[in-house]
């Protein structure tokens, strides 16, 4: 995760759009980001599988893991950790801030 000083916050969603079973894929600054709800917390993680191009939020969410819709790699959405083959490279995660109904994601400032 990037250091505090270098972040730019982008409003990406309303809280109600991110459900336990239905993560939300968004595009911010030409970057695909997935938003996930786990135990009441919202998490943001790169939304393209590190193995091959696939949008992870099209996959299946269970507990804290998203399963890639193509080759079934698992990622822990809280940490970005690749949990199973064929993915071997972890994904980036981003800080999330909720203000009222608005969800912001902090990306490294350009």
């Amino acid at each position: 995760m990037a250091g505090d000083g270098a972040l730019e916050w982008h409003k990406v969603a309303n809280k109600a759009e991110i459900l336990n079973d239905e993560p939300l894929g968004v595009e911010v600054e030409e970057q695909f980001i997935g938003l996930y709800l786990v135990d009441g917390e919202i998490y943001a993680m790169d939304n393209v599988c590190s193995h091959e191009f696939a949008i992870l939020t099209d996959g299946f969410m269970e507990d804290e893991c998203i399963e890639c819709p193509i080759h079934q790699a698992l990622f822990d959405v809280r940490t970005g950790k690749a949990r199973s083959a064929p993915a071997e490279v972890d994904l980036k995660t981003y800080p999330v801030r909720v203000e009222g109904e608005d969800v912001f994601v902090g990306l490294p400032a350009k």
């Binding site: 079973d21 299946f60 193509i70 079934q72 083959a85």
Partner: protein, 408 residues
């Protein structure tokens, strides 16, 4: 000298690549040799009948472990090396060039090769197979606008090739000996859906017929069928299955019957020899029987299990067989092994282009065909592996979120 003989991984495909990677992950620090018959470092084959054939991705994109990565893993890679013999007593492999290679332990991941079309006239005909990078590029070079292509075999490879060369401009006919497409892996309704898809895209399907000979006439080839019909071809693509590369293992006395026999941990009957991937027939605990799988998933996961077991941490494979296909941008995913089933539940709308068929045998879900519905596979895999009883009315009702069924 006293130098330890290496662990030899014989076969440098998907399974061989996961075997060497896993051995290092598991802490095996000794000498490691990877032997491959082809000129390339390990690569994966699924894109060869899809993105690579279509020209969407370069062949290099299929490489799983390049020379740098092999170097980092401290793997000695021997390309263009064919194994012809195995001496289990002396623990050496015989190579095609007459040399030998000693092993301390051996992982056999030699995969499979295409079954060839043995017909009168085949030697003179423009026949191509689809297994290697070179095969894929050769077909792509010939497949151009107006080229008449006859595909022999209406299984996954034949249909993926048919769809791709059709998209490249060929006029395509598919000849399938069975009465329906992909009969070995999907149910009749799925076969019918794909038959419609291919026909709609202008592909001629000839079912229940097979070629008996190939005739040359005026610069093109005529494929003569058992029914007496004939199809003119500038290009013939044959996809009629594969044969496991297990002869040298059988000659060495290992049990081979439609694949080299291994247990669920990838062990052969020889405690120094393991095996994984297309070459094996393993006892699958989920299916309760021995199967030889030709899937990407099995090549990956069986190799991981076998390599972990070889390295000392016994690991059993307990996957439900799974595979996928892409034809004309339609994604098909198949879970389980079609065979015995007595009921099928449809979820979704075939007209709308996204649906799944869930198969049941004596009340238990035993397989799924999912068309443009990858999440259905994710849930079904969990329902099956956790033995959760399924209410079939709710399963067929798209208003009920599929995930709710996981609660039982």
């Amino acid at each position: 000298m006293g130098a330890t003989a290496p662990v030899v991984v014989a076969g440098a495909g998907q399974a061989g690549s996961w075997a060497v990677k896993t051995l290092r992950d598991e802490g095996y620090g000794g000498p490691l040799v990877l032997v491959g018959e082809e000129q390339h470092p390990p690569y994966e084959r699924p894109p060869l009948s899809k993105q690579v054939l279509l020209g969407d991705d370069p062949p290099e994109s299929t490489i799983l472990l390049d020379h740098d990565m092999l170097g980092e893993l401290d793997v000695e890679f021997r390309a263009r090396t064919r194994i012809t013999a195995l001496d289990r007593e002396r623990r050496i492999l015989g190579l095609e060039d007459g040399s030998t290679l000693a092993y301390d332990r051996l992982m056999i991941t030699t995969g499979a090769r295409v079954r060839r079309l043995e017909l009168p006239g085949a030697a003179e005909a423009p026949i191509m197979y689809l297994r290697t990078i070179e095969d894929s590029l050769a077909i792509a070079r010939k497949a151009a606008k107006g080229v008449r292509c006859v595909v022999i075999g209406g299984g996954l490879i034949g249909l993926e090739a048919a769809a791709a060369v059709s998209e490249l401009g060929c006029r395509v006919a598919v000849v399938e000996a069975g009465e329906r497409l992909m009969a070995r892996v999907v149910g009749p309704r799925t076969s019918a859906y794909f038959a419609d898809l291919h026909r709609t895209r202008g592909i001629e399907l000839v079912l229940g017929d097979s070629p008996v000979r190939l005739e040359q006439a005026g610069g093109s080839t005529r494929v003569i069928l058992a029914s007496g019909a004939g199809l003119d071809a500038d290009l013939i693509v044959v996809g009629i299955g594969v044969v496991p590369n297990a002869e040298f293992a059988a000659d060495a006395g290992l049990k081979v019957d439609n694949g080299l026999w291994v247990d669920e941990c990838g062990r052969t009957e020889d405690p120094r020899i393991f095996a994984a991937g297309d070459v094996t027939a393993h006892h699958n605990p989920v299916l309760g029987r021995r199967v030889r799988l030709e899937t990407w998933q099995n090549a990956q996961n069986q190799a991981i299990a076998a390599a972990r077991t070889l390295a000392g941490s016994e690991h059993a494979l307990s996957d439900i067989p799974w595979g996928w296909s892409n034809q004309f941008k339609v994604n098909l995913q198949i879970l389980g092994v079609a065979g015995h089933w007595d009921d099928a539940v449809l979820r979704g709308d075939p007209q709308g282009g996204s649906f799944s068929l869930f198969y049941f045998d004596q009340g238990a879900m035993c397989g799924v065909d999912a068309i443009n519905a990858p999440r259905d596979i994710a849930v079904a895999r969990r329902l099956m592996s956790r033995n959760i009883p399924v209410d079939r009315t709710r399963l067929g009702d798209r208003a009920v979120p599929l995930k709710d069924l996981l609660k039982g």
